[in-house]
Amino acid sequence: MAADDLQLLINLGYIVVTAAIFAFAGKLVRMPTIVCYILAGIALGPLFHLVDLDHSLELISELGIALLLFLVGLELSLDKVKNLGRVALILGGLQVMVTSLGGYLVAQLLGFSTMEAFFLGATVTFSSTVVVIKLLDQKGVMQHLYARISVALFLAQDIVVIASLTLLSSFDGTESLTLLGMLGNLGKAFGGMAILLTSVLVAARYLLPRPFAWAARSPDTVFIWALCWCFVIVLLAHQFHLSVEIGAFLAGIAIAQLPIHEDLHRRLHPLMTLFIAIFLVTLGIKMDFNNLASILPYAVGLSLFVLLIKPLIVFSVLVWMRYSEYTAFQTAVATAQISEFAFILLALGASKDLIGDNIVALGGLIGLITIAVSAYLVQYSEPIYQFAHKSGLLTPFRAKQEADKENLKNCKGHIVVIGMNTLGREIVRLLTQRNERVMAIDTDPEKLKGLEPADTLIGNIEYQSVIEEISLRDAKMVISALQIEDTNQLIAYRCRSLKVPCSIHAFDVLVVDDLIDLNTGYLLMPSVDGIMELQKLIKKEGILAK
């Protein structure tokens, strides 16, 4: 095949290999992977010109963004959505107003024109949903309150961004701005949002549960159906001039109300990780460093505003809303960067001749600086908070010191039983009779029914996320009743690494040696035990005695 036919594959090859090299190099100096990916993109694009962005790469990036927001939606039950609505409205409204005004004033002070200051004010206002969720997800804190508040804030910002983009799109440089057209577009966006939200909630209640319950025993079917649902809603959102993010998020909320949402989340996560990595590399590829020297001082000034003042505004609002100092601080830290939407907004402004290309380049540089620094801030937010708290920096805000209520799962000293066949169920029954805390796992929701008082989890033990969710390292013991050789070996391997005793189903003599080599504590051998039981029965019934 000619190189032209393989362009996408070649581009993906460059992106993945370079991202891997940068990620491994970054690991040595504890650099967050987001920064590594953007640097890899800069190497591939502005530095060596190895990859040119085309439609296919843009599509993959969009896929990543859609999946990321879909996964965020997947974690939100309706109760959580209701709770977050108030925060989104108050925090989002205040933060957007104060930050944009502040950004506008700083830009004016730096000598930019009114129109340029207006665009720069908008640029510094919005935070990157994708970058922050990726960072929080990597940190494993998506279940925490501050992560949920951050998501609510960013989605509120997204709505404002969409309104801004809609307004800007309505403005045609050659004709005058018609108020009616503008209002029509805005009405379409907000009306669409309302229609979509209602449709999604109705679907979650009446349309989706039955088909998904029917397909629940076929993981591949559920997986493809969920993806299909996500992209159909994204397309619908597009029809209403809404963003991919909002469409995917709403689609995720609908699926979150189904019992299989957790397993789906785990299955979709690897796909999202890959596509988001590609998205972040393409961000680096897009960077423009032609006027670096002239724009650098302005970039530093506005970046300082994003890194210090914006979090301060968010912190103050949250303290005022009576959230604890810890939650307010962690949320504030998460907002210290600008959004990829800002690039679109600036590009649109430039295309309408409202601002020059130098402002677009400036926005890109602010993005690079703030995303890189905020990646470190989020990664090390715990020690930073401890420092700020102990040094008295936060005292003047008089924030609430008691922790907010968090509904986090905490497992320790439990017994994990994997595979709910007859053997697995029998073991769960006997262990619960002994008052052991048991966590039963199977990929088939039907098999997990009727195991109370044991905890149950629908999922595949081969996923790292399942290992973390069941707190395998803190388990008293792990038992696998599965008849899957590879999975059993992996369980034994993981248990050996975490120093957790395990018992594995040795269903065939061929698997025994490997399991012993992996330090399996006890081998379940029903075929052998069955023969011994048979011998006992024959003796007991006097069959041999005649």
Binding site: L9, H238, E426, L544
Partner: protein
């Protein structure tokens, strides 16, 4: 985004139908792709050719990669020789049968070679999914089948290289094959030495594992590109590199998601670019399908039995392998891309693949296996008359635990008669001078032949509870004790009600475990 959504809608329909009709998803995905194209034509919706091409390109690379990652050579341990004999014989004979049929149907040599080799290997994706669904991956026939598939995948990769290099002359073929083998050897060395060290010493999180796995994929694909080999060679060897334990387990979950996604998009896209074959080609497809199924079942059964597998295992393996491979499609696709075969031929190969893959779940049914077992020649020569046996024990089904039961009963002075349907088991028992009767347990004549009514005990260890029911009913009014191995509670209850003695294997095993648990875990804490 709308093009991709259309593909996903088509895939969602195919998976729904696959679940509803209990058919493998691959043929339905291809058919759904054809439907998508027709639908788009009717409504004047444009499905981008560029996008379909790219989906096929990426899907192909990812699918071959994940297939390679799933085929660990460890699966062959214990019977490597037997597996290689079965795999190579099937590959060669089926290939020759395909080539002969194609020549008989007046195709030219290049086309005949493509057709023959497209027929020669079986589908790893279909078979692995079928075995997983039925939880038979690690049954003897599951192990044999997976071993055969690994060998066949390697052979078809080599063939693909040879066929694509064939227009360049013999030297090009030899040099490309040498390149492929060298790449394979490098992959083997990395698989053997580097990957275990890498996994042991670098504690990687999910994201790093994903990146390193895909990095390996693109490095190998890049090398294949530089060596002017098909990219799939690089993808397969990259997958093979990762098939080393425990790396294969650590990345399986992640690659599983990628594989499911690209599998759907790849086969939908293949369907969407297919042209419908004409009547003549459909007729030819039918002929090839019949040849494939007939030769595979017969050949694999004979050869597997010759290398020491039981009749049941041999027949099950033959039935399960009777479809063409996804590699057949890849072979045909690369053939089109290189201009060596026409689009019509590609459509015909796709037609054979769709029909054989669709037929697999029907062919691999229990009742087909039973029917073929009955057709198998019997070893009547050594069967004994059991009419004179009294107070003896009868084993209904020999299975893996048969030897231990036989030894135990004989050690306690009981005569034992075995009834089993498997011809090769009967042959071995005759050689050991054990009284036995060949046939299915559901046949009451056989119970009479083994003189069960006058036996002291009848031990039933067949997997099918139906057979135990027949024996229990037949012996209901006689003093003979019927002991039945049970797996589910419902079976246990039934056996008790019917006057039998259940042996609950799962309960026995879990109780034994609990004793160990009390001593070693509870007391230890």
């Amino acid at each position: 985004m709308s093009g991709l959504t259309l593909l996903l809608i088509a895939a969602a329909i195919a998976f729904g139908l696959s679940k509803l009709l209990r058919l493998p998803p691959i043929p339905l995905l291809i058919l759904s792709g054809i439907g998508l194209r027709l639908f788009a034509q009717q409504l004047n919706i444009e499905v981008s050719e560029l996008m379909l091409g790219e989906m096929i390109e990426i899907g192909l690379t990812v699918l071959v990669f994940t297939t390679g990652a799933d085929l660990s050579p460890r699966r062959m341990l214990g019977n490597t020789r037997g597996i290689i004999i079965v795999a190579v014989t099937q590959f060669v004979v089926l290939g020759l049968a395909g080539i002969s049929t194609a020549i008989f149907l007046n195709y030219n040599l290049t086309t005949a070679l493509y057709l023959g080799f497209a027929l020669s290997a079986s589908s790893t994706l279909v078979v692995v999914r079928h075995l997983q669904q039925r939880r038979q991956m690690f049954e003897p026939f599951g192990r044999l089948t997976l071993g055969v598939l690994l060998v066949q995948d390697i052979l078809i990769i080599l063939l693909m290289v040879a066929l694509l290099s064939y227009p360049g002359g013999v030297l090009t073929v030899v040099s490309n094959l040498a390149g492929t083998i060298s790449l394979g050897l490098i992959a083997f060395l990395i698989h053997l030495k580097f990957i275990p060290w890498f996994t042991q010493n670098l504690k990687l999180d999910d994201e790093e594992l994903m990146l390193s796995s895909l990095g390996i994929l693109f490095v190998f694909t890049g090398i294949a590109y530089l060596l002017k080999l098909p990219l799939l060679v690089g993808s397969f060897f990259a997958g093979f590199v990762l098939s080393a334990f425990p790396m294969n387990g650590l990345v399986r979950g992640m690659l599983g998601s990628l594989s499911s996604f690209f599998l759907a998009l790849f086969f939908i896209s293949i369907g969407a670019i297919l042209t419908m074959p004409d009547r003549l080609l459909i007729g030819h497809s039918l002929i090839f399908t019949v040849v494939l199924i007939f030769v595979t079942v017969l050949l694999v059964t004979i050869v597997s039995e010759k290398v020491g597998y039981s009749t049941r295992t041999s027949i099950e393996t033959g039935l399960l392998l009777s479809q063409t491979s996804e590699f057949s499609l890849l072979l045909a696709y690369t053939g089109i891309a290189s201009g060596l075969i026409t689009e019509d031929l590609f459509s015909m190969i796709a037609c054979i693949t769709v029909s054989t893959m669709t037929l697999t779940p029907f062919i691999a049914q229990e009742k087909v296996r039973w029917a073929l077992m009955r057709l198998h020649p019997r070893y009547r020569k050594g069967e004994r008359s059991c009419a004179n046996y009294k107070d003896h024990a009868v084993l209904l089904g020999y299975g893996r635990s048969g030897p231990k039961k036989l030894k135990f009963l004989r050690n306690h002075g009981l005569d034992v008669v075995v009834i089993d349907e498997d011809a090769s088991v009967i042959r071995r028992l005759i050689a050991q001078n054990v009284p036995c009767v060949q046939g299915g347990i559901s046949n009451i004549n056989l119970l009479e032949q083994a003189n069960c009514k006058q036996a002291r005990v009848v031990i039933c260890s067949m997997r099918q509870s139906h057979d135990a029911h027949i024996a229990l009913n037949y012996l209901r009014n006689y003093p003979v004790k019927v002991v039945v191995s049970t797996f589910e509670h419902s079976e246990t209850e039934y056996v008790q009600k019917a006057g039998g003695y259940p042996v609950q294997t799962a309960l026995a095993s879990s109780q034994k475990f609990i004793k160990w648990f009390d001593i070693n875990v509870v007391a230890g804490n």
